[in-house]
């Protein structure tokens, strides 16, 4: 219940709308962001059962143009850029030479000489600097367009029906991890079938000046679907029920994507990328720890940094943890040594002075509703 000053914080174009909607605004990654409106559990279930809208304009966007864009990105990130087609999206990480994670991000391809990256808010300045540094030898132009770009996420099974009422091109043929350019009313935007909730849904990128009218129009058009604005707290419980990693918690400069279970976005057969040698060596030597899902078998709520035990022996630590509103139980992600990482392993979580029995599970913790 501490008081933090709001002076140095950035605000999204929807700041006054959030206040009007009764949001609790808190400092997050240098931004004044809505953590909740009506209540986390209600907002969480609103997205799981219907549709909700998030202001995620704090996320960073980096524009990449030039004839060596693909070649440059292939060097920058761990996943395979060459396999991308126009208007497709790729989830990936970018690493340091030692294999630690700079950030996880989405790469959007407009064409072979034009891409844009969506990166985490907290990392935006660091990422931009890193991307520019790596870009130096290439014929590309790198631009931070975060300031002029707002991002809205509309998530939940009713998202398509709702947005189709407003969007001028069909959405039913927009596949998961693809995007389209189009108009909402008369406003140009990019709409992608992506999200961080595990539900079907979309993310809209739009000029900051248009964020407020579009946000209001979606809220209005969403009334028949009982749409609600959703805060960052529910965004966190929704992503954690899916086992999605969060930068700063589950992945950091000190963790490797292989340990984090993100081996599927690390293409070691690729010719060259930053961190390849270290990651290859790690893989050959065997991983020292693994990020796994854990659920409590008794009442209690696991939180980041709580220790994980096998008997009385500490074998790892929670990096994310929460109460799951869908399951009504404590869930989390933790790094444990490989011999304890097997699904079904019986461990315990140290919560204050008690050890609460827990079991290793394979995320997602709840069934995903995304349309693959």
């Amino acid at each position: 219940m501490s008081q933090e000053t709001s002076t140095a914080l950035k605000t999204t174009p929807l700041y006054t709308v959030h206040k009007e909607l009764g949001a609790k605004l808190v400092p997050f990654a240098g931004w004044h962001m809505p953590i909740q409106y009506q209540g986390i559990i209600q907002e969480h279930l609103c997205v799981r059962n219907g549709v909700g809208i998030f202001d995620v304009s704090h996320m960073g966007e980096i524009d990449i143009r030039g004839k060596e864009s693909g070649k440059f990105l292939q060097k920058l990130v761990t996943n395979d850029i060459e396999k991308m087609s126009d208007h497709s999206i790729l989830y990936t990480v970018m690493c340091y030479e030692d294999g630690g994670v700079v950030d996880d991000l989405l790469v959007h391809r407009f064409s072979e000489d034009h891409y844009f990256l969506c990166v985490n808010a907290a990392n935006c300045a660091k990422d931009y600097e890193w991307v520019r540094k790596i870009a130096q030898p290439y014929d590309v132009k790198v631009q931070d367009i975060s300031q002029e770009t707002a991002q809205l996420a509309i998530q939940g099974k009713d998202a398509e029906k709702l947005l189709q009422k407003m969007f001028d091109v069909p959405l039913n043929d927009l596949r998961y991890y693809h995007f389209k350019k189009g108009k909402i009313h008369k406003n140009d935007c990019i709409i992608s079938r992506t999200g961080y909730t595990g539900e079907d849904g979309f993310e809209i990128y739009i000029d900051s000046s248009l964020a407020e009218p579009v946000f209001r129009e979606i809220l209005e058009a969403g009334k028949p679907f009982n749409i609600q604005p959703i805060g960052l707290a529910a965004r966190d419980t929704l992503r954690l029920e899916m086992g999605y990693a969060l930068y700063g918690n589950d992945i950091t400069a000190e963790t490797s994507p292989l340990e984090a279970g993100l081996g599927w976005v690390v293409k070691l057969q690729k010719e060259d990328f930053i961190g390849k040698e270290s990651l290859k060596n790690q893989k050959e030597a065997g991983l020292k720890r693994k990020l796994v899902g854990i659920k409590l078998l008794e009442r209690g709520i696991p939180r980041p940094h709580y220790p994980v035990f096998s008997g009385d022996r500490p074998v790892g630590e929670l990096t994310s943890g929460t109460f799951s509103p869908s399951l009504n139980m404590g869930i989390g992600l933790c790094y444990v040594s490989p011999e304890h990482a097997k699904v079904g392993s019986r461990l315990s979580v140290g919560i204050r002075n008690k050890q609460v029995p827990a079991e290793i599970v394979k995320p997602p913790f709840v069934v995903s509703g995304v349309k693959k």
Partner: protein, 128 residues
């Protein structure tokens, strides 16, 4: 923010309702609002002692953990077992069905240092 006149308060947002040598303890409307959805309450066992200004339990909301501080010392004579299955009572009725425990007061003089409703309201104003 509702601050009932018949209660006394702590700076950590607990309330105490005194009735003779017994007293009921809970957390305030302001506290539950700050916490958000309460999903777990850890309470001491009946017959154990709680000590003024020491922690006697924990309230967990979805997003955070908060210690509970005893407004006065005494023996626990009842705990609100309804909170085991309905912790959300703390959000909906913080001064009623969301009470946390009842104690037998060791020393009623300890109550003198607690905040009056007026003092507590002022403190909430400052924190808001």
């Amino acid at each position: 923010m509702e601050v009932p006149k018949d209660l006394r308060y702590t700076i950590e947002h607990e309330w105490i309702r005194v009735n003779g040598n017994k007293a009921v303890i809970g957390i305030t409307q302001f506290a539950q609002d700050q916490l958000g959805d309460v999903v777990f309450v850890e309470m001491p066992k009946p017959d154990t002692q709680v000590t003024k200004e020491n922690t006697f339990g924990v309230v967990e909301s979805v997003k955070t953990v908060s210690d509970l501080y005893a407004p006065a010392s005494g023996k626990v004579i009842a705990i609100n077992t309804d909170l085991e299955t309905q912790p959300e009572l703390i959000n909906s009725e913080p001064y009623g069905k969301g009470w946390i425990l009842e104690i037998e007061l060791s020393d009623s003089k300890e109550l003198d240092g607690l905040l009056t409703p007026e003092q507590y309201s002022e403190q909430c104003e400052k924190e808001h």
